[in-house]
């Protein structure tokens, strides 16, 4: 995979050694940015145009989710350590850190599921208010992306345990990392605008 598609005839300068796949991956992430931009713009507009909006800290469990934010940040660090590990040819660091990242991703999802179910029990639903609708949509689509990331991580981890990556060839780990950090960045923005403001 990592040697991508550069079939030998194309001696054109590929910008500073970016592989075709990594380039395309960044394009995909750029489109994902615009997808969340659409949802976030809708949220901002709806909130700005709304005469009433609940005091967020009274409805949402901010300390719990702050903890969850911490978990996601830690998972970014473990992800980047996994990448640093394979760059240095350290297979056990790669495997351990990938396992840690996967586990942290699952914990994040678990806490989010807990948070959702508590809210739903309090009667805060997507139908009950604009606040609920935007809350579930934004965190829901982020959660879906985390879920997709966890599935990807499982595959990457399995491949790592079968020694599928080497110091020279580890494009899959890099792309997985890029996606995972992207999801982290989205959460950083969402946490601030949904939970804190």
């Amino acid at each position: 995979m990592a040697h991508a598609v550069i079939s030998e005839p194309h001696a054109t300068p590929t910008w500073q050694g970016i592989t075709t796949l990594k380039f395309a991956w960044w394009l995909f992430l750029a489109s994902e940015v615009m997808f969340f931009a659409g949802l976030i713009a809708a949220y901002i507009v709806l909130r700005a145009g709304s005469p009433v909006w609940p005091i967020v800290s009274e409805v949402l469990n901010v300390p719990l989710v702050a903890g969850n934010t911490f978990i996601l940040i830690v998972s970014s660090v473990t992800m980047v350590q996994a990448y640093a590990g394979i760059q240095a040819g350290n297979q056990s660091q790669l495997r351990n850190m990938l396992l840690a990242t996967t586990a942290l991703g699952i914990i994040f999802l678990g806490i989010q599921a807990f948070e959702w179910s508590a809210l739903l029990r309090e009667g805060e639903t997507a139908q009950s208010s604009l606040f609920g609708a935007t809350f579930y949509t934004l965190t829901g689509f982020h959660g879906l992306h985390v879920t997709g990331g966890v599935v990807g991580l499982v595959f990457v981890t399995l491949k790592a345990f079968r020694a599928g990556y080497t110091q020279a060839e580890h494009g899959g780990v890099e792309l997985m990392g890029l996606y995972w950090h992207f999801v982290d960045v989205v959460w950083i923005i969402l946490f601030t605008i949904v939970y804190l403001i």
Binding site: M34, G177, T192, L196
Partner: protein, 94 residues
């Protein structure tokens, strides 16, 4: 995929400390400044700082070519346009 060069020993752990500190700061500010008009701009500035740290160091944009950075920055500019014009519209109506 033999890059980015191992020369840059990216300061992953130092960035991590920054991220945690900024997050704690954010949560504290959100409660301390609950009613202050400075709250929203400050929190947004902090969020942007955190996002930038992750993108620059964990996503290695700091060490990437200008082309990749352009791919990352272009949608951000568009997102700002997309969010600002309609919110100005509703705010001015209220």
């Amino acid at each position: 995929m033999a890059h980015p060069p191992a020369a840059h020993r990216a300061p992953y752990m130092r960035v991590f400390v920054f991220l945690v500190v900024l997050t704690v700061l954010e949560v504290l500010l959100a409660f301390v400044l609950a009613a202050s008009p400075a709250k929203v701009p400050m929190l947004i500035a902090l969020a942007i700082a955190k996002a930038t740290l992750v993108a620059m160091y964990y996503m290695h944009l700091r060490f990437e070519s200008r082309l990749l950075r352009a791919i990352a920055v272009f949608p951000l500019i568009l997102s700002i346009v997309l969010a600002l014009a309609p919110s100005f519209d509703v705010l001015a109506r209220r």
